[in-house]
Amino acid sequence: MKEKQPWLVRPETIRLLWIVFIVILALTVLADFFVHHHGHYGIDGTFGFGAWYGFVSCIVLVVFSKGLGAILKRRDDYYD
C-alpha cells in the first residue's frame, strides 16, 4: 500500500503555501507606504528597494555561480 503523503507535501498544500507566500511578499512591499526608510545613499531609501535588490542579487549570484561551475565543476571523486 502506498504510504499516505503528509499534509505538507500534497499538491493542494503547496498551492496554498505559494498563495500565502505571495501575499506575504506583497505585504512587505506594501509596508513601504507606511514605513519611512531614511536611506544613506539615496537609492536604498526608495520604495521596495529591499525587495528588488534582494531578488536581483540572488539571481546574479546564482547565474554567476552557474557560470563558474561550468568551468570548475568536477565529478566528486576527482581527487580520489
Partner: protein, 563 residues
Amino acid sequence: MIETSVPPGLVLLFGAFLLPFLSGTIRAVVALVLPLIALFLVWGVPDGPALTIPWFGYEIVPVQGDALSRVFGTVFTIMVFAGGLFSLRQSNRFELAAAYAYAGAAVGVVFAGDLLTVFVFWELMALASTVVIWCGGPNAWGSSIRYAIIHLLGGVVLMAGIAAYVTETGSIAFTAMEVGSVGTWLILIGFLLNVGAPPFSAWLPDAYPQASWSGTVFLSAFTTKTAVYVLLRGFPGTEILIWIGLYMVFYGIVYAILENDMRRILAYSIVNQVGFMVTGIGIGSEMALNGAAAHAFAHIIYKALLLMSAGSVLYATGKSKCTDLGGLFRTMPVTCICGIIGALSISAFPFTSGFIAKSLISQSAADDHHLTAFVWFALTAASAGVFLHAGIKFPWFVFFQKDSGLRPPDPPANMTGAMWILSALCIGLGIFPAPLYEILPYPVDYVPYTASHVVFQLQLLLFSGLAFFLLLNMLKRTETITLDFDWFWRGLGKALGREFDWRTVAAWEALATRSAQQARRFVAGVYRHHGPRGVLARTWPTGLMALWATVLLAAWLIIYYLR
C-alpha cells in the same frame, strides 16, 4: 564576582585528558561540568593582567582579561557545553578529549596577554583540531594531513612574524598593531590563514566535513573565531581586511551554491560568515568592532546548531549528500525544526540572533562616510545570498525537496537537547539582545528593531526566497565538487606526480633494458672464450705443443745465430 587568575582554558585542556579514562555517567558529568567551571573562571578573570611570569627579560602574561576576551571566552565555553552534550554518544573515546583540549587552547588564546602565549595555544589548537579530524575515520586521513600542514605552515609564518616584531619593538605584549613592518605583515598573514582568507580558504571546506558527525560541530566554532578574535585585538581598522572579508563573503556563497554535500555547504558558509566579521574588523569603528564580536558570538551558536542538525542527519542516515537526502521532515521533526531555526538565524531573520548581530556591521558600513558605498551594497547583497545558500538551501535539500525514501528517527535525547538549547539561545538573543550588547567591548548605541529595518530585512530575505524557488531548476544538485585554490596543492601535485611517475617509469625501463643487454653480452663474451667450445677452454693436442716448442726453439736458434 570572585576574581580568579586561573587560566580558564587550562581547565578544559587538562580536563580533556581525563575523558578517555572515564565512562558512563561519570564521563557525562565530567564532560558537562568542565565547561561550566571554565565559564565561571572566564567571568572571574579581572580586567588587565591577572598573572605575569618574568621570562628571559620578557613579561609573559598567560591570563589577561577585558570585555573582548570575555565575549569570546563566554561563547566558547557555552559552545563546549552544548557540543559536549551533543557528543556524549560518540563511540570514539578520543574525539571528545581532543575537542575539549582544542577548545581549551582556543580559550587560552583569547585570554593571552602576550604574543608567545598566543603562539603556544595557537599551535596546541592546530594539533588538537587535527586529532578531532582524524577521529572522523579512515576517509578523514588525507584531509587531516593537509589541514595539519597548512596550519603548521601558518604557525611558522606567525612565529617568524612574532620574532621579527619582538626584535623590532622589544615588547611581546599582544596589543593593536599597525601593519607596515615585516613582522606585523607576517603576523597578519599567520592570523589570516586561520580565518580562512584567500587563497587558502579551501582548507576549511576540505577538512571540517571529513570529521565525524560530532567532530565538525566543535571544529566550526574555534579555529576561525579565535582568528577573528586575534584580528579584532591586533589589527582593528586595517583597511585590507575589508576587501579580504568581502571576498570571503562571496566566495562562501558561490561555492556553497555549487556544493552537494550538506556539511560542505555549511563549511563554505562558515567562510562566508567569518567574511562579514573580517569586513567589520577592517571598517574598524567601535560599532563595527562590536558587530564583529557580536556576530562571532551569534555565529558560533547558530553554526553549531546547523552542524548539529546536519550531524544528526548523518548520524541517523550515514548520508551527507543532498542528492541522497530529502523529505526527512517526516520522521526527524526536531532535527528539522532546530535546523530551520539555525538557518533563519544565519540569514539574520528578525527575532533571531543573526539579525541583532549582523546589522551592527552593515550599519557601521553605512555610517562610515569615508567608506565607499560599494561596501554596504556588497554586504547587503551578501545578506540576501546567505539566505539563498544556507538559509533555504540547507533545510530545503535535506528535509524537504523530494522524498528520498529514508525514514530515520530523530536522534537520542542528549542530541536533541543540545539542539533545543542552542535554538533557544538563537531566538532568545534575537528577542532580547540587551545581555549580548551589554558584554560587548564598546558601549552600544543602536536599536535593531525599527520598523524600517525590520521591513527592509524582510523584503530582502523573502524576495531572496522567491528567487530561490523560481531558480530551483538551476540550483538542482549534481554529484560534483568545485575546484578551488586547493587544486594547486591537491591536483597539481598529483598531476605532476603522475607526469613524473610516467617519465621515471620510462627512464627506468630503458635503463633496465640496457643493463640487461650489457650483462647478457658480457656473459656471452665470457661463454665464447671460456665456454666448452671457447678458444681458451679447448684441450690442446700434444702434437700442437711439440710444434710450438719446435717453433720456439727454431726462433731461439735464429736469434742466437743472428747475434
